[in-house]
């Protein structure tokens, strides 16, 4: 997404997609990467916990994300 939709206060642009876990469950997720061009179907990714945004009181709101595995 190039612009932030309403309710979303994280970084823009941002990338979302689906990750298929080895057990067969499909998860919708944000991707942690600055290189959106590398994202493609079939890419290996790993789980990370990162900042989504800061709330009104200055607290960090954390979220799960996936990032491409560096080999």
């Amino acid at each position: 997404m190039q612009r932030p939709p309403i309710y979303y206060r994280g970084d823009v642009p941002y990338a979302i997609g689906y990750v298929e876990l080895p057990e067969g469950v499909r998860v919708e997720t944000l991707f942690s990467t600055s290189d959106f061009e590398q994202l493609r179907i079939g890419l290996d990714v790993e789980l990370v916990i990162e900042r989504l945004h800061e709330d009104e009181e200055g607290n960090e709101v954390l979220t799960y994300k996936f990032r491409p595995v560096v080999r």
Binding site: M1, Q2, P4, Y7, Y8
Partner: protein, 410 residues
């Protein structure tokens, strides 16, 4: 029926498990229901700015109802039930609309089913007359749209805060998968916009009535890669109304149009928005709704003379045509290139310009699609008329998810 089987792969070595959903049993046969009259406002931005008139949703709904009554040669007190589709107009919006026509005490039901609200309202009106609960019912759709990206509340708050469930992004994800799976190009997808905007130029009620070239589409602003601004339908305000009645109550029986099917389905587990597992293979919402419409009407895809498909994003027109069985998976882009979906082609699609030209007032959109089919099979579509059209289908999707299919015949 093949579609009532769900296949679950436990592991690659295991045999799939099959079982039936009893909820997919066939609907009871209804009596014949005719379209008595239709009404449709021009879809536009009625915001009172830049010389445009200001109109609120109830004025737009009202305008459409009055047109439909006049076309049906009926008076408001004859209407026995009203089903009013809208999404962003607040509580009792149907009542507010109808209060300006006459307080006759009839049941008014407000129908919010996202982008498929109008189709859902139509189906309820159809069932009321078809099941002989009444003889004359009206389906109304209207909307005064908020501006910008639609703030969908169709999913939990945490998902919205994560930036999920933004329509262009959701469709972008599906589009990337579609392009990868079938070797479809962004040029193929852009041709949907080109075709629909060309058709829209023939529709005086469309919001956009100027054709665009493929380069215009490909150079428009990127919204969610690979989808650009001209791959997305514009918003609009508008109103639409369809009066349904028993054949006996038709004032004019010449060129009578009847309802052959009105189907509504919701999502199935195993598809992206149905959540779940990549190992569960269920038919999609669109596939189920199309199959039910074929079963209910006795028609098949080859019988359709004209079709309106939900082109909220350009790519969805292509895969929806495939999922409804009009062609094989991945074949729609080639047929589009060959002109099969043009007015004058083998299967004209979105003859009035679709959402892409009309604009998208959520509550009214599906009824505008149904009205285009009605006009086509009545031979009243003017310069965009499909010669000899006798049977047509209108298909709409909605967040939830919903898939609505209506087939009209003469």
């Amino acid at each position: 029926m093949i579609l009532s089987t769900v296949r679950i792969e436990k592991r690659e070595t295991d045999r799939p498990i099959e079982y039936d959903f009893p909820g997919w049993l066939k609907m009871r046969k209804l009596r014949e229901v005719a379209v008595a009259g239709v009404g449709l406002t021009r879809f536009d931005s009625y915001d009172g700015e830049k010389g445009r008139p200001y109109k609120d949703f109830y004025e737009l709904g009202n305008e459409a109802i009055r047109q439909a009554l006049s076309a049906a040669e009926m008076f408001w007190p004859e209407i026995q039930a009203a089903f009013c589709g809208s999404v962003y107009c607040g509580t009792a919006s149907g009542h507010q609309t109808i209060a300006r026509l006459g307080l006759t005490g009839i049941p008014i039901v407000n129908v919010e089913n996202a982008c498929s609200s109008g189709s859902s309202a139509f189906r309820l009106a159809y069932q009321s007359v078809g099941a002989e609960l009444c003889d004359i019912a009206i389906a109304v759709g209207f909307e005064k749209m908020p501006r910008g990206f639609i703030a969908s509340t169709a999913w939990p708050e945490w998902q919205r805060k994560m930036g999920f469930n933004v329509q262009p992004a959701d469709y972008a994800l599906e589009t990337v998968r579609y392009m990868e799976e079938f070797g479809v190009t962004i040029e193929d997808i852009s041709m949907v916009t080109v075709k629909n905007r060309r058709n829209g130029a023939l529709n005086p009620l469309a919001r956009f009535r100027t054709p665009v070239k493929i380069d215009d589409v490909l150079s428009s602003r990127m919204i969610a890669k690979p989808m650009r601004l001209l791959h997305a339908c514009p918003l609009a305000d508008g109103g639409a109304a369809v009066i349904l009645c028993s054949r006996k109550r038709l004032k004019s029986k010449s060129r009578a149009v009847t309802v052959a099917a009105a189907v509504l389905t919701s999502g199935t587990y195993g598809h992206a928005k149905g959540g779940g597992s990549v190992r569960v293979h269920t038919p999609s919402n669109v596939e189920i709704s199309a199959q039910q419409a074929w079963d209910e009407s006795g028609y098949g895809p080859r019988d359709m003379d004209v079709v309106q498909v939900y082109d909220t994003m350009a790519s969805s027109e292509l895969w929806d045509l495939e999922n409804m069985g009009f062609c094989g998976k991945g074949e729609a882009p080639r047929l589009l290139r060959e002109g099969a979906f043009d007015i004058g082609g083998k299967l004209p699609v979105n003859t009035d310009g679709g959402l892409m030209s009309r604009g998208h007032p959520l509550g009214a959109t599906a009824l505008a699609q149904i009205i285009e089919i009605y006009k086509q099979i009545r031979g009243e579509a003017g310069p965009r008329q499909v010669p000899g059209a006798m049977v047509g289908l209108a298909h709409v999707m909605g967040a939830g998810s919903n898939s609505g299919v209506v087939i009209l015949k003469r």
